[in-house]
């Protein structure tokens, strides 16, 4: 079982969260071309090792998080809010 340290709720089981996807995707603007969108939503890296991925604390505070997790060992190096303003709040509260 993966345990995720939610910056708002504390360390919780992964069953409280929903997996999002690759957190490093820069989604193109809405008026971008089909080609750019295809690249963004269909072509993903299959990383062995640490990757940044989004998780939604769907059965908790509803925050979307960036989790740095190893796909090999499930080790989690860091967890922070996706939203930059929430990131700042978390930093200031440390």
């Amino acid at each position: 079982m993966i345990r995720i340290n939610c910056p708002y709720c504390g360390e919780r089981d992964h069953s409280e969260f929903s997996y999002g996807g690759d957190a490093t995707i820069n989604y193109p603007s809405l008026d971008a071309s089909e080609k750019e969108w295809t690249e963004a939503i269909f072509f993903r890296k299959n990383i062995k090792g640490f990757q940044f991925e989004t998780w939604h604390h769907s059965n908790g505070c509803r925050m979307w998080l960036v989790v740095e997790r190893s796909t090999v060992t499930h080790e989690i190096k860091s967890v922070k809010p996706c939203h930059p303003n929430l990131q700042k709040v978390v930093e200031n509260n440390k």
């Binding site: 079982m1 345990r3 989604y27 071309s33 750019e36 969108w37 963004a40 303003n85």
Partner: protein, 985 residues
Amino acid sequence: MKTRRLDNYGKINRDKILSFRWDKKNYKGFEGDTLASALLANNIGIVGRSFKYHRPRGIFSSGVEESGALVTIGSKDRRDPNVRATTQELYNGLEASGQNAFPNVNFDLAGINNYLGRFFAAGFYYKTFMGIPPFEWGRGTAIWMFFEKFIRKAAGMGSASELPDPDSYEHAHDFCDLIVVGSGPAGVAAAIEAAEKKLDVILVEQDSLVGGDQLAENNFDNSQIKNQLENLGIKIMTRTTAFGLYDNCVVGLLERVTDHISAPNVNIPRQRFWTIRAKHIIVGAGAIERHIAFNNNDIPGVMTVNASKHYLNRYGVLTGKRIAIATNNDSVYETAQQLSEAGANVTVLDSRTNFEIETNKCFEIRKGYVPYNINGSKKIHSLDVSKSENMNKSETINCDQVLLSGGWSPAVHLLSHRGVRPKWDYSNACFLPSDSKENITMVGSSRGLWNKNDCIASGIAGTTDALNRLGISKTNYFFPKPGGWKNPIQPLYEVKYKKSRSKSFVDYQHDVTTDDVRLAHREGFISVEHLKRYTTLGMANDQGKMGNIIGLSLMAELLKKEIPEVGTTVFRPPYTSVSIGALSGRNVGKHFRPLRVTPMHQWNIDNGAKMIEVGLYQRPWYYPKENETLSDSYIREASTVRKTVGICDITSLGKIAIQGPDSTEFLNRIYSNGFSKLQVGKARYGIMLRDDGIVMDDGTSWRLAENEYFMTTSTGEAAKVMSWLEELLQTRWTDLNVNVTSVSEQWAGVSVAGPKSREVLNNCVDDSLVITNNNLPFMGVTSTFLKGNIPCRIARISFSGELAFEVYVKSDFANTMMDLLWENAKKYDGCLYGLEALGALRVEKGHVTAAELDGRVTIDDAGLSKMASTKKSYIGSAMRKRGVLKNNDREILVGFFPTNLKETFNAGTIVCEKNNIKGQGIGRITSVTYSPELGHWIGLGFVKGGLDKWKDTNLVGADPVRNKQMNLKVVSPHMIDPKGERMYA
């Protein structure tokens, strides 16, 4: 074999006599017995029949590695098959019986299989699949089809109860700094050391008593240890198995709460499924003694040496009178001495020639001897032995029991669950655990330490390792070296004797013999994983705890390799079996999944609603009058809505409050149609696409104020849409100043639909002026009050195609609203209508729901191209123009009529061209209803090319599942009032 209870031995409570039944006869045992020890005390040697050959099977061990004494416990709805008699504690009234035998284990008709062995060798199953050579080899399976039912009937051991489980089970959770698995000397030392260093410790023991293998010592008393552990505040969990290790130091435990009690309190669960989140795990799971493969090594009376020590010292049962012990290591001599002191005549055959051992000389040691054959079938008559270097010189020893010790295998299973492969240790002839990068430390004999002092030292070292890894201390420590016997072990896995055709067993329960392993090798199944699947070696209840290493060594020899080169199969959870009941816990029956009801749920039922499940929601299905059937009822309800008025509970729709200065911009980005010009006081139907251009959901959004919207979603997609909006706002469009809040539970909603709906509402609202056609035109929204000062939101939205209003009040006012509306609707001969009538009304209008929007359909497929704005970009706007989604060949939404209007059809029907009725056809029907308005059956669905291509063609609806076929014609999906004149009325 003659087994009997001794007066001066054992730690059983002789003051408490327990009676139990075995194979329909009554017997007695004592408190503290296991079923196995009680059977042995009653001189019962045969307790089961083997899997394939139906050979008599006795008790091989005294623990979880048991592969012979698998019995059925209990009866009727509490019948549990394949329970190890060696771990089942005896209780008063226990009922047990032998398995896989007819009429009984002593005389089993299927014993004939023993003589047909050559047909049942490894892989016989798979060969049967291939057909009989040469006639149908490799092409037909007729032979398999014929034999399948017989084979299936013969396969398997005991049979489980098919009745509902009367017991309750529980899921429980706990946290700790350190969890210690196993309460032997190593585990206890680790736990004490950790508790003294102020760690919060849980100690887990699968046995009923704390002590581990020390329980087999003749003068061991565990009460002092138990007191010490308790005084240190250590949580001791006995009768609890750590069945698996998982990520982040999570341990799965199964606690058997009442399996040892004859009449358990019904308020207590039978078993508890624990999830423990620890910071460090110490495993002192012990080691398991192996047997040796030789001819007839499965005759009842064969046992591991350590098991007989347990039976003697813990249960006071002497397992034989004339005992032959075959070994290759030092561990048996203490037992041999104790057995001979207890009155048995003991001979030890040691395969080694050069070694020194101190004994009391009251038993015979024959150096350099090995056993090669047991004579007997239901019990042991004698043992044929030979000098290991010269198999031609043999002699026969009279005995009634043969004890085996082919070495010890550390229980590395739990570490293996974490993907850590064990490494072979040549000097100790066993697999030893490798170091784990995770916070897991192996201690005691599960790291190959054979003497008690080393085990204790390893326990303390294990805790020091834990403290270091947790950053609490930085102390040097070392683990004792594996081993600890005075004389080295001499590997001995199999004794071959060429002249015999008898079977020599590797895996007792699944009847895997040494010849099966050789057959697998000959036929090319040489990888350990293939060997396992082909022969079923290690796939029985014991999961290879006893036989695996023997199988590996045989394969290594055949391949002329060493054991580590052959490898080992990966052990996976669970270590011992976990009941399905424990896995499901309380999530059974009504609690299988959460139940959602609307605030007027009881009101609906009180007013005659029959309910239906929609996702987790209970929604009114139909409201039958007197003897009405479902179809009578929904047809009446739908007609009433078209004629006068109907009221429908639509609370289950998802509801989201969207607030903030950028709300309009936000909606304009997520909906395919424009929202930038929506006025305050108006609602708009909208469609959301996914990033890839496919339709995600549809619904309405109401502009309540400049910066405030009220969004409704479909019932099924509510949670998904909410998460999606949050994702967009928190990850992609972090500059937008918008807040979204789920208010699904806060508002109760009804649809009031039909030509008389405004008149009904007139009587219900405080100020009837607010709902006139001028003040509340089609898609208008207002916040006003129902009579009795109930604040409400009303929108003129229609799903039925009639003049209709959606009315929302705070959930607490739901019943008052329903009373008020219903009282007034009755005056116009109105009705309450359910989901079935709602469905009929929307199919008539060609409105799509989840049945149509199934995640494959584009906005164009659904015939809603007008909803796709060309003036703006939105989510999915680029991707919906992909070539593949713009194909002429795509299936487009249409309506269906049966050609013969008296015919019916069903959803799921495949639409085909008349002369080409096959495969997936050219379309499908997704929703079907009887149309009261049209007077015949109608359907919605999809067809390649849409209405334009097929409107004048006769098509065929094929329904192979229901064995039906009918002629169809394609019509516009808007089957009633296509211009929508009624809605705008």
